[in-house]
C-alpha cells in the first residue's frame, strides 16, 4: 500500500516536472498575460457589479481597448512614426556622412572647440585625436542601429506574436479566474485552508494594486511629460514623454532618467541651451504633479525601500538583463518583498512558525 502510494507520488512529481519542461517556454507569455489580467480585471468587475455577465463584460472591455488602440493608431501613431522616422533619418544621415555629420551637432561642436583649445594650451595631451576616435566609434555604433532590425527580425516577430498572444491567454484567465481560484483552494487541506485563502487574497491585492498603479502612473506621467515637452517645442516629445513615463517606474532614479532623455534630446537637436533649463523646469513640474496628485491617488501607499537598495537593485537588474532589467527589477523586488512580508505575518498569526 505504502509502496503504491509512493509510486503514485513519484508519478505525479514526474508529470509535474515533464509539464514544467514542456510548458517552460510559455511562462513569459503567462506572466505577461497575468499582468494584463490584473490591470483590466477591475474594469470587468465593474461591469459585473452592474449585473453584466462576466463573458459579456470581458467582450465589452476588449471592445473598448480595441477602440482605444484603433483611435491611438489613427491619432497618435502617425506622430510617433513621424518622430521615429525623424530619428532614423538623423541616424541614416550620420551613418552616410560619418563623423562630419555628428560634428554638425552643436553639442559635439562645442566639445570639439573646447578640446582644440585644450590641445593648443597643452599639446602633449593630443585630446583632439582621441575625440575624433570617439566620434568614429559613436558613428560605427549608429551605423549599426538600422541593421539591428534586420539582424533581430526573429526577435521582432516573436515580440509581435507575444503581443497577439497576451490578450488571447488573458481572455481565458479573465473568464475563468473564479474557477481557477476555487480549484486551487479545493486542493488545500482543511488545516491550511484559512491561511491559504487569506494569503491568496492579500497577495492578490498587493500584486494587483501595485501593477495597476504602475500602469496608470506610466500612462499619466507619460501623457503629462509628452504635453509639457510638446508645449516646450522639444523634438520627439511624445516618444521621450512615454520613455520618461516608463522610467518613472523606478523610484528615486526614474524621474532623473526621464529628465535626462529630454535634456539629451535638446542637446542633440541643437536647440538653444536655455531650453535645457525650461525642460528641467517642465519635467520638475510633471514630478510635482506626479508626487502630489497622481501618486497618492493612484498608488496610495509609498514604496518603502531604501534608496540604496533601489540603486543596487537597478544596477543588478541592468547588469543581468540590460535596460529591461533596470525597469522591472525594482517592481519585481518590491513584489517579492511584499509577498514575503504577507507570508511571514500570516504564518506567525496562524502559529505555523
Amino acid at each position: 500500500m505504502k509502496t503504491t502510494r509512493w509510486l503514485l507520488y513519484l508519478l505525479i512529481l514526474a508529470v509535474f516536472i515533464a509539464g514544467f519542461i514542456f510548458y517552460s517556454w510559455i511562462f513569459k507569455y503567462l506572466i505577461l498575460s497575468v499582468i494584463f489580467t490584473y490591470i483590466i480585471n477591475p474594469w470587468i468587475s465593474w461591469f459585473e457589479r452592474h449585473y453584466v455577465p462576466r463573458l459579456l463584460a470581458i467582450i465589452f472591455v476588449y471592445l473598448g481597448i480595441t477602440i482605444l488602440i484603433a483611435w491611438s493608431v489613427i491619432r497618435v501613431l502617425p506622430v510617433l512614426i513621424e518622430q521615429s522616422q525623424g530619428l532614423l533619418e538623423f541616424i541614416k544621415t550620420a551613418s552616410a556622412q560619418g563623423e562630419v555629420s555628428l560634428l554638425q551637432i552643436p553639442l559635439f561642436q562645442s566639445i570639439q572647440q573646447q578640446v582644440k583649445y585644450l590641445d593648443s594650451q597643452v599639446p602633449i595631451l593630443m585630446l583632439h585625436d582621441q575625440f575624433i576616435n570617439l566620434i568614429k566609434t559613436l558613428n560605427k555604433t549608429m551605423m549599426d542601429i538600422p541593421n539591428l532590425f534586420v539582424r533581430n527580425y526573429e526577435k521582432i516577430l516573436q515580440a509581435v506574436s507575444l503581443i497577439a498572444m497576451i490578450p488571447l491567454i488573458g481572455f481565458f484567465l479573465l473568464k475563468d479566474n473564479v474557477k481557477f481560484r476555487k480549484s486551487f483552494l479545493s486542493f488545500i487541506p482543511n488545516r491550511y485552508f484559512e491561511i491559504a485563502i487569506i494569503l491568496m487574497h492579500k497577495v492578490d491585492e498587493a500584486v494587483g494594486r501595485y501593477l495597476r498603479a504602475m500602469f496608470y502612473e506610466i500612462i499619466i506621467v507619460g501623457t503629462l511629460a509628452s504635453i509639457v515637452l510638446t508645449l516646450l517645442g522639444v523634438d520627439y516629445a511624445i516618444l521621450i514623454g512615454f520613455l520618461a513615463g516608463f522610467a518613472n517606474v523606478i523610484p528615486y532614479f526614474g524621474p532623473f532618467m526621464g529628465g535626462l532623455f529630454a535634456v539629451t534630446s535638446v542637446l542633440l537637436t541643437g536647440h538653444p541651451h536655455i531650453m535645457i533649463f525650461y525642460v528641467i523646469i517642465g519635467m520638475y513640474l510633471v514630478q510635482v504633479i506626479d508626487n502630489n496628485i497622481v501618486y497618492p491617488v493612484v498608488v496610495g501607499t509609498n514604496i518603502q525601500m531604501h534608496p540604496l537598495l533601489v540603486l543596487l537593485t537597478v544596477l543588478a537588474g541592468g547588469w543581468a538583463y540590460g535596460l529591461m532589467g533596470m525597469l522591472i527589477s525594482v517592481p519585481v523586488v518590491y513584489l517579492v518583498y511584499s509577498v514575503t512580508r504577507v507570508l511571514y505575518i500570516n504564518l506567525r498569526d496562524f502559529k505555523m512558525i
Binding site: R49, S186, E194
Partner: protein, 160 residues
C-alpha cells in the same frame, strides 16, 4: 413574453440559473436575487469536514466565515470553569458575530458529524459589501436580523 423567455435562457446559459437556488435557504441570502446570488457565489468555497475535524482553533485570526450547508458544528468558548458550548446546524452561519467584534477566534469549532460548509473569506465578504452597496445593505440587514433573533433566543433561554 418572448423577451423574458430569452432573458431566462440567456441567464441560464451565461450564469447557470437554478444552480444557485439552494443558497436562498440560508437566512443570510434568503432575499437575494439570482444575479446577487451569482455575485456572492463567486466568493464561496465549498469545504467538507469529517466528524471531529477542527474548523478553527482558539486565537486563530478571524479569516473566514462559514455557512453550514450540511451537518452540525460545535463551538466551544470560554475558560475551563466557564465553557460555553453552542451547536450550529444546517443553514446557520458560523463566525458572523466575531466578524464585527473580534480580530481573533474566541473559541474552537469542530464538526459534530460529517459536514459541508460554505466558506467565505472575511476580506472577500467585506470587499463584496463595499463594491456592491445595494446588495451589501441587504446582507448587513440580514446579519442584523439573524443576530437579533439570536439575541431574543438567548434572552428566552437565559432570562437572567
Amino acid at each position: 413574453m418572448l423577451w423574458i423567455k430569452f432573458k431566462n435562457w440567456l441567464d441560464a446559459f451565461l450564469h447557470g440559473r437554478g444552480k444557485l437556488d439552494y443558497l436562498r435557504n440560508f437566512p443570510l441570502l434568503c432575499d437575494f436575487s439570482f444575479l446577487e446570488l451569482f455575485l456572492f457565489e463567486q466568493i464561496i468555497n465549498i469545504r467538507h469536514y469529517k466528524k471531529g475535524e477542527f474548523i478553527y482553533q482558539e486565537e486563530f485570526p478571524l479569516a473566514v466565515i462559514y455557512l453550514i450547508l450540511d451537518g452540525a458544528i460545535e463551538v466551544k468558548e470560554g475558560s475551563d470553569q466557564n465553557i460555553k458550548t453552542i451547536v450550529l446546524e444546517k443553514y446557520q452561519p458560523l463566525g458572523i458575530i466575531d466578524l464585527y467584534t473580534e480580530n481573533r477566534r474566541k473559541g474552537v469549532a469542530y464538526a459534530l458529524k460529517d459536514s459541508t460548509l460554505l466558506a467565505v473569506s472575511h476580506l472577500d465578504f467585506n470587499a463584496f459589501i463595499r463594491s456592491n452597496p445595494k446588495t451589501g445593505i441587504k446582507l448587513l440587514n440580514n446579519i442584523c436580523r439573524i443576530l437579533s433573533c439570536y439575541y431574543v433566543e438567548l434572552q428566552i433561554s437565559n432570562p437572567d
